[in-house]
Amino acid sequence: MENLPLVPLIPFVSAALLIATAGRLPKMVVGLLGAGSIAVAGLLVLNIGIEFLRDPTPMSIHLWTWISINEFKPAFAFYLDGLALVMMSVITGVGFLIHLYSTEFMQDDASFSRYFAYMNLFVSAMLILVLADNLLLMFLGWEGVGICSYLLVGFWYQDPANGAAARKAFIVTRIGDTSMALGLFLLVAELGTLNILEVAEIAKERWEVGATIPTIACALILGGGLGKSAQLPLQTWLPDAMAGPTPCSALIHAATMVTAGVYLVARNHELFMMSPLVMSAIAIIGVATLLLAAFTALNQHDLKKILAYSTISQIGYMFLALGVGAYSAAIFHLMTHAFFKALLFLGAGAVIHCLHHEHDIFKMGGLRQKLPVVFWSFLIGSSALAALPFTSGWYSKDEILLATWAVPTLGPWLWAGGIAGAVLTAIYSFRLVFVVFWGEAKTIPDKQPGLRMSAPLVILCVFSIVGGLINIPLEQVFPSQTNAHATGPVAWITMTIAIVGVLVSYLLYLRQQINVEPILNKPALKKLRYFWYSGWAMDALYDRLLVRPYKLTASLLKTELIDRFYNLIVESSVASHRALSITQNGKLRTYAINLVVGIALLAAFLTGIV
C-alpha cells in the first residue's frame, strides 16, 4: 500500500518526460511511455486492490504538509478506501484501454507526443482528485483535470472552433469551480479544516441538520459538481467538448472527469446529509437533466453529440441516486457507465476513423457487415446504455430507480421521471444502432480498426455485459440502504421498461412501420424538435444573458473611462497654459494696461470700495 503515491506519480512523470522531450522521441517510444505508464499504474492499483480487499481498513498516507498557517494545515495526503479503490480502478483500467486504443487512433497525428502528454497528465490529475484526503488537494486534481480537458478539447488548435469549444468547457466549469472554492472558504472559516474526514466529523458536532450554513456550504460545493458533471444549469459545455479527439472524449467526457461531481458528493456524503434541502435539489436536478438531455439526444444526428447528451443524461441518473441517498448505486452506475460509455465512444471513434471523419449518422448506414467488431461493440454498448435486462447498465439503473421509488413523498415522482428517461434512452440508443448499422450503406469504410483498437473494444464489451456482477467494496464507505426494495408492478416496470423503448425504436427506425414523418414535420412539432435539438435553447439564453453583456461591457470599458479623468487634468493644465500665455504677448501696451488695471483693482479692494 506504500505504493499508493506512485499511482498518480507514474503517469505524471511520463507526462513530464513527454513534455520535456517535446516530440523528439520516436512514436514507438511515445506510445510505450504513454500507454505503458497507465498500464503500470493499473497493475499497481490491482496490487493495492488485492491487498485492500484482504484487509479493508481505510488508510491515509501523509506525504507532506502542503500549507501550514496557524491552524490551517492542508496536506499532500492520500486516503484509500473502497470508494477510492473503485475510482482508481476505473481510471487506470478504462484509462489504459483508451490509451492503448489511442496508440493506433492517433498514430498519423503529427502531435502524437503532445496528445499522450496531455492524456497522462489528465490521468495523474484525476487520480489525485480521487485519492485526496482533503478538499484543497482534491481541488488541485479538480482543476488539473479541467485544464487537461481544455487542452485536449482544443488539441487540434489550428481550427479556431476547437479553441472556442475548449474555452467554453473551461470557463463554464470554472464557474462551478468558483462556487466550489467559495464553499471551501466557508468550510475553512466555519470549521477551520478541509480534511474530508474532519469536515464530516466537526460538521456533525457544530451544525444541526437542515441549518442554514451547512445548506449554503453544500449548495456552493455542489456548484462545482454541477459544472464538472455537466448538470443543469451548467451542462452546455459538454456537447461542444466533443471537438476533441474521440478517445479523449471517451476517457474524459464519458468515463472519468465528468463523473467527478458524482464522486465529490459521494465522498462528502456526510456533509451533504446535513442539508436535506440540497439533497432534494440534487435529485430534482438529476431528473430534470436526464430528461432534458434525453430529449436532446433523440434529436441529434452527430454521432458524438448523441453520446455526449446521453452522458449528461446518465450522469443525471447518478445525481438522482445521490439525491435519494443511494450512494452505492450512484457509484455502481458510475462504474458501469464508464464501461459502456467508453465502449460506445471508442466504437464511435472507430466508425469516424474508418469513414473519413464522418460524424452524421444519417450519412452512415449498413455498417453491420462492414465493421463487425464495431457493430457488436455498439450493439452491446447500446444495450447496456438502454439498460436491457442482464447488461451491466440494467443492474445499476435498476438499483437507482428502485431506491428512488422508496423515497417518501417525492420518490414516485422522481421514479416516474427516471422511467420516462429510461424509455427515451432506449429509443435514442437503438435509433443510433439501427440508423448506423442497418439500412443502406451511404459511406464505405476505407479501413478496418486494427488490433490495438479492436482489443479494447472487445474487453469493454465483456465488461459492459458482466460489469453488473462486480461487487464493489462500498459497504464501509456509505450508510447501508435501509429502504425495502419495491416489489410487484413497480419492480416489473423498472426492470423491463427499456424493452418498450427498444421496440418503439425498432418500429420507428428499423421497420419504419409507423410513418411519423408527416407528424414530425408539422410546423409546431418541428419547432419543438429544433428547440430540443438546440439543447433547450440554453446556449442562446446564456449567450444573450451572459456572453454578450460581458463582451459589451469589455468593449465599452476598453477605452478606460477612468483615464479620462486624468486626461482632464492634463487638458485643463494645457488649456490654462494657453489662456495665460495669451497675456504674455510681448506688447508693452498690454502689460502697462494690465499693470494699471491690476493696481487699481488692488487699491479698490484694499480701501474697501469693492
Partner: protein, 498 residues
C-alpha cells in the same frame, strides 16, 4: 551595515556595465549578470552568518535587534535622519525576487537593445539598486530617497528604449509616481513633526515612528498619504491607468522589472508602513481599501479581456492580480497576508515570464497586436508550451504559486468580509476568460505559413525554465516561502488586529 554592500555592488555594477560597453559590444550584459551574481552571493553570505533559529523566531516589529539584520549610521542628525537598513523575512523574500528577476530582465533584453547597450544595462542595475534600497531602508527619508532612485532609471528605460509612444508613457509613469510620492513625502514629514512634538526630538526611524499616538482624524489623513503613494505604485484601482501605457511602451527588460518587482514596492509599503504606522486609521479604512481591491480584481480582468495588444492585456491582468494584494493586506489575518505575500512572488514570476514572451514576440513579429497573430504554436512550440504554462499559472491553476496566493487571500478575506470575497472570487472566472483569449489569439488558431519566427534561444529557455520551476515549487511546496514570511506576519498580526 553589511546590507549596504548589496546596494554598492549593484550600483557599481551599473557603472561598470556602462563603461564595459566601450570595450566590447555585448560585454555590458555579462557585467550586469556578474554583478547580480555577486550581490546574490554576498546576500547568501550575510544570511549564512545568521543563526538558523533566528529565521523561525517571531520578531518584535518595534525592536530592530530581533530582525534578521539591522544596521544604522548617522546621516543628517540635525533632523534625526539616519542611514538605517534592516532585513526581515518579508524584505528577504522581496530582495531575492528582485535579484532573480533582475537577472531575468537582463536575459529578456539580451538581443533586443541596439543603441547604448551599456547605459541600458546601467539603468537596469540602478533600478535594482533603488528597489532593493526600498526593501531594506527603515528610515523614512532614506526610504523616500530610494523610492525616487528607482524611478529615474526606470523613466529612462521607457523614454529611451521604449516603443512607438514612449515619451508620453514615460511622462505619465513619472508624473503619477511623482505626485503620489510627493503626497507620501508630505505625510512622512507631517508624521515626523507630530512625533517630534511628543518625543521632543526628531526621528525618521521606522522603529521610533511606530510609537505614535496620533488622533484618529489626523492619522487618517497621514495614512491616506501613504496609502495613495503605495496604491498608485501597486497599482490599485482607480490609480492604475499609468500602468498599461508604461508596460506597453517599455522595452522587455523594463516590463519585466516593472511588473515583476517595481509594483511589489507598493505592496511592500502597504504591509510595512501603512498598516503598522496607522493601525486604527487602517481599520476604519479597510472596507474602502478592500472595495478598491475587489473593484481592481474585476475591473482589471474585464479590461484585460477587451484588449487587443498582447502587452496591454498582460498589464491589465497585473491590475487584476494586484487587486488581490490589496484585499490580502487589508483583510489583515495570517491567511490573507500570507496570500498577498505569495502573490507578490508568484505574480512576479508568472508576469515576468509573460512579458518576456510578449517581448520575444514583438522582437520577432514587430507587432503586439493579437489580431495579427495566431497559430504561432506551429512555428514556436517551445514558446507556445511555455506561454500555456504561464497563462495557466496566471489564471490561478492549482499546482502553481498563484493559486496558493489567491486561495489564501480569498479564504482569509472570507473570514472578515464574506460578501466582498464572493465579489472578488469573480476574478477566478474573469481571469480564465482573458487568459484563454490571450493564448487562443496568439499561439492557437490557424497558423500563418508565411511566418516562421525562430523559437526561444537556449539562454531564454534557461530563464523561462527557472521561472517555471519556481512557480511549481511555490505551488507544491509553498511552505518554503511561507515559512520565511510567517514570523513577520505573526508579529504584525499579533501586534495589530484590524
Amino acid at each position: 551595515m553589511e546590507l549596504l554592500n548589496l546596494l554598492i555592488i549593484l550600483f557599481i555594477g551599473g557603472a561598470a556595465a556602462w563603461v564595459g560597453e566601450h570595450f566590447s559590444k555585448g560585454l555590458s550584459r555579462w557585467i550586469s549578470l556578474l554583478f547580480i551574481a555577486i550581490a546574490a552571493v554576498s546576500l547568501l553570505e550575510m544570511l549564512g552568518n545568521i543563526p538558523a533559529p533566528t529565521f523561525l523566531k517571531d520578531p518584535i516589529t518595534k525592536d530592530p535587534t530581533t530582525w534578521l539584520i539591522h544596521g544604522k549610521a548617522d546621516w543628517i542628525p540635525r533632523f534625526g535622519i539616519s542611514f538605517e537598513l534592516a532585513l526581515d523575512g518579508l524584505s528577504l523574500l522581496l530582495v531575492v525576487l528582485t535579484l532573480f528577476l533582475g537577472a531575468v530582465s537582463v536575459i529578456a533584453s539580451w538581443d533586443e537593445i541596439d543603441k547604448h547597450q551599456g547605459f541600458f544595462q546601467a539603468n537596469i542595475m540602478w533600478t535594482l539598486t533603488g528597489v532593493i534600497g526600498v526593501f531594506i531602508a527603515l528610515d523614512l527619508i532614506l526610504f523616500f530617497l530610494f523610492w525616487e532612485v528607482m524611478l529615474v532609471p526606470m523613466y529612462l528605460l521607457i523614454a529611451i528604449w521604449g516603443h512607438e509612444d514612449k515619451a508620453k508613457a514615460a511622462m505619465k509613469f513619472f508624473i503619477f509616481t511623482q505626485v503620489s510620492g510627493l503626497l507620501m513625502l508630505l505625510a512622512m514629514i507631517t508624521l515626523a513633526i507630530f512625533v517630534k512634538d511628543v518625543n521632543g526630538y526628531w526621528s525618521f526611524s521606522y522603529f521610533t515612528l511606530l510609537d505614535n499616538n496620533l488622533t484618529s482624524s489626523l492619522a487618517t489623513f497621514i495614512m491616506l498619504g501613504f496609502f495613495i503613494g503605495f496604491t498608485v505604485k501597486l497599482p490599485g484601482f482607480p490609480f492604475h491607468t499609468w500602468l498599461p501605457d508604461a508596460h506597453t511602451q517599455a522595452p522587455t527588460a523594463g516590463s519585466v522589472i516593472l511588473a515583476g518587482i517595481l509594483l511589489k514596492t507598493g505592496a511592500y509599503g502597504l504591509i510595512r508602513f501603512t498598516v503598522p504606522l496607522f493601525p486604527e486609521a487602517s481599520i476604519a479604512f479597510a472596507p474602502i481599501a478592500i472595495l478598491l481591491g475587489a473593484s481592481g480584481v474585476v475591473y482589471g480582468a474585464i479590461l484585460a479581456f477587451g484588449q487587443t495588444d498582447f502587452k496591454r492585456l498582460v498589464a491589465y491582468s497585473s491590475v487584476s492580480h494586484m487587486g488581490f494584494v490589496l484585499l490580502g493586506v487589508f483583510a489583515w489575518n495570517a491567511l490573507a497576508i500570507q496570500g498577498a505575500v505569495m502573490q507578490l512572488v508568484a505574480h512576479g514570476l508568472s508576469t515576468a515570464a509573460l512579458f518576456m514572451i510578449a517581448g520575444a514576440l514583438q522582437h520577432r513579429l514587430h507587432t503586439r497586436d493579437l489580431q495579427k497573430m495566431g497559430g504561432l504554436w506551429q512555428s514556436m512550440p517551445r514558446m507556445g508550451a511555455l506561454a500555456m504554462f504561464f497563462i495557466a499559472a496566471s489564471l490561478g491553476l492549482p499546482g502553481m504559486g498563484n493559486f496558493i496566493a489567491e486561495f489564501l487571500v480569498l479564504a482569509g478575506l472570507f473570514q472578515v468580509y464574506p460578501w466582498l470575497a464572493v465579489v472578488s472570487s469573480a476574478g477566478l472566472i474573469t481571469g480564465a476568460i482573458y487568459s484563454l483569449k490571450l493564448i487562443q489569439e496568439s499561439f492557437q488558431g490557424a497558423p500563418d505559413d508565411t511566418l516562421t519566427p525562430p523559437d526561444f534561444s537556449a539562454l531564454a529557455m534557461s530563464a523561462m525554465i527557472a521561472m517555471l520551476i519556481g512557480l511549481i515549487v511555490l505551488g507544491i511546496f509553498p511552505q518554503l516561502v511561507l515559512d520565511i514570511s510567517q514570523p513577520v506576519i505573526n508579529a504584525l498580526t499579533s501586534e495589530i488586529t484590524l
